[in-house]
């Protein structure tokens, strides 16, 4: 395959050698390093293929061997170019084509992201655009190392980035930190609040069921009833002298898991009546193409329907994955309908309300709140259906608050104590 392409590029000929001793001609050819292939005897003569370069060296050999050469076939690029040498436009456009190919390949046409789950392609693209990295930028202006640095700087939870140019595509591989949220909270809290002492206070009324203190002084016990705003763990640790007097305070950030039984009121009301839409067959379509600010549309939306809905869908054209063109097309549809008021049946209402409640419980459980008991009941009136009741929960009720600092007062007392001694 490759050989035949090379032969075509260089050009070759098919010749017939006639005469007294064609064998001598062949031997001389091989002696002069002229490559011959496809040699076939043809009566008294031989037919063979020979490269154009070899053919040009043939004259002295022919004279020496007294043979006659007939040129049968000419194949290859040199002959092709010679044949069409007068078609200047063709060669011009060929050159232009090559030039454009070269020019266009010096741009980035596409940005491809891999491994991103939390951060969407669109977000990352927007961010890169602020750093002047976008499709249709010059390839030579891409600084992969800088892109990597920028992304790492902007997004804390992206732990590894690699940017590489893959043809005319910029490939960005990303590794996100999977347990991002917890760490963010922890580290953020640490950095800001190591200086700031905090208490833990109750966010809700409740009865304490378990308490695990990691730092701070617990102010409540299991079984205590607390109300909203009560201090649960104090960030102020007393420093006690030998005579059991308080001589000072140490402040720290309180940390504890405190669970309490709490109560919550639940109410959910839905109407027993609803509007049902009966779509009619009549609708109006409008198709459009938007190029920049220029709009081309076909069809009309004018109507005299009593009640109608408008649906619009639009698609923007893009090259590859991320090179959006300023061309979009879409369709607008006006659908007419009739509406009638209907009433839900009792079963439907019950089903919907219990589904809503289940959804609500699920959300609570996702937050780590346990539902121990509930007294939610469904009441159905003529106009509305209601689910009302109390939920008995077990949840973490801690909330951070700044510790009251009362150091100065104590310091004065300390001094007086010392003088007494």
């Amino acid at each position: 395959m490759i050989q035949s392409i090379i032969r075509y590029m260089h050009g070759y000929v098919k010749i017939r050698v006639e005469g007294y001793s064609p064998e001598r001609f062949l031997n001389l050819c091989s002696y002069h390093q002229i490559y011959i292939w496809g040699l076939t005897p043809c009566g008294n003569a031989y037919e063979m293929y020979m490269s154009l370069k070899g053919f040009r060296k043939l004259r002295p050999i022919v004279r020496k061997t007294h043979t006659r050469i007939v040129l049968i076939l000419r194949v290859g690029l040199p002959f092709f170019i010679h044949k069409y040498r007068k078609r200047k436009l063709f060669f011009l456009s060929l050159l232009l084509c090559l030039g454009l190919l070269y020019l266009y390949s010096s741009f980035i046409w596409d940005i491809h992201f891999e491994g991103n789950e939390k951060w969407t392609n669109e977000t990352l693209l927007e961010f890169l655009e602020t750093k002047e990295v976008s499709p249709h930028m010059l390839k030579s202006k891409v600084d992969c190392a800088q892109i990597v640095k920028d992304i790492r700087k902007e997004y804390d939870d992206i732990v590894w980035v690699s940017a590489s140019i893959d043809g005319s595509r910029l490939r960005i591989q990303i590794k996100e930190n999977e347990d991002t949220f917890r760490e963010e909270e922890d580290t953020g809290g640490d950095q800001e609040e190591t200086k700031q002492p905090t208490d833990l206070i109750a966010a809700k009324d409740g009865v304490i069921t378990s308490i695990i203190t990691r730092s701070g002084v617990p102010q409540v016990h299991v079984g205590d009833t607390v109300s909203k705003g009560d201090v649960l763990v104090s960030g102020r640790v007393e420093v006690v002298s030998d005579s059991l007097e308080v001589v000072g305070y140490q402040y720290q950030k309180s940390d504890a898991d405190i669970f309490a039984d709490t109560q919550m009121h639940y109410e959910d009301t839905i109407s027993t009546k609803y509007k049902k839409k009966y779509y009619e067959k009549s609708q109006k379509n409008l198709y459009y193409v938007k190029i920049g600010s220029w709009l081309l549309s076909g069809g009309t939306l004018k109507n005299n329907y009593k009640e109608w809905e408008l649906h619009t869908s639009e698609h923007q054209l893009k090259l590859g994955e991320s090179f959006y063109l300023p061309i979009s097309y879409g369709r607008k549809v006006v659908k007419s309908y009739n509406s009638k008021e209907k009433t839900h049946t009792k079963e439907e209402l019950q089903k919907e309300l219990s589904e809503n409640f289940e959804q609500f419980s699920k959300k609570l459980q996702e937050k780590g709140i346990q539902i121990k008991e509930n007294s939610v009941k469904i009441h159905i009136d003529q106009n509305a259906a209601t689910a009302v009741g109390e939920l008995f929960l077990n949840e973490s009720i801690t909330e951070e608050a700044n510790t009251e600092i009362i150091e100065i007062e104590r310091n004065e007392q300390d001094e007086s104590v010392r003088t007494d001694d």
Partner: protein
């Protein structure tokens, strides 16, 4: 004549003693036959005769006579040639 033969014999013994390739030292022809349809000849001097049923190739000291049907020389260079076609016999003659 006798001297030349002796020389040749000495060369051969030397080549086999030093385990050197004979095609290089003695200029012996290398004939590779693949199946019954392809022959490769290296180290030859030239073609003496070529028709589609008989090819005679001159090598150093002897001739190779190849008989067959539809014989064709695929390519032909200074040091190697490839013949395809249905091969019937291959003879070495002085």
């Amino acid at each position: 004549m006798g001297k030349e033969k002796e020389n040749e014999r000495l060369k051969e013994r030397l080549a086999s003693a030093a385990s050197m390739p004979k095609d290089v030292v003695l200029g012996a022809a290398v004939v590779t036959i693949i199946g019954a349809g392809e022959v490769c000849i290296e180290n030859y001097r030239g073609i003496i005769e070529y028709t589609d049923i008989l090819i005679r190739v001159q090598t150093k000291g002897y001739q190779i006579k190849l008989q067959g049907k539809n014989l064709q020389i695929e390519y032909y260079t200074n040091d190697e040639m490839k013949i395809t076609g249905k091969i019937v016999s291959l003879e070495y003659c002085k």
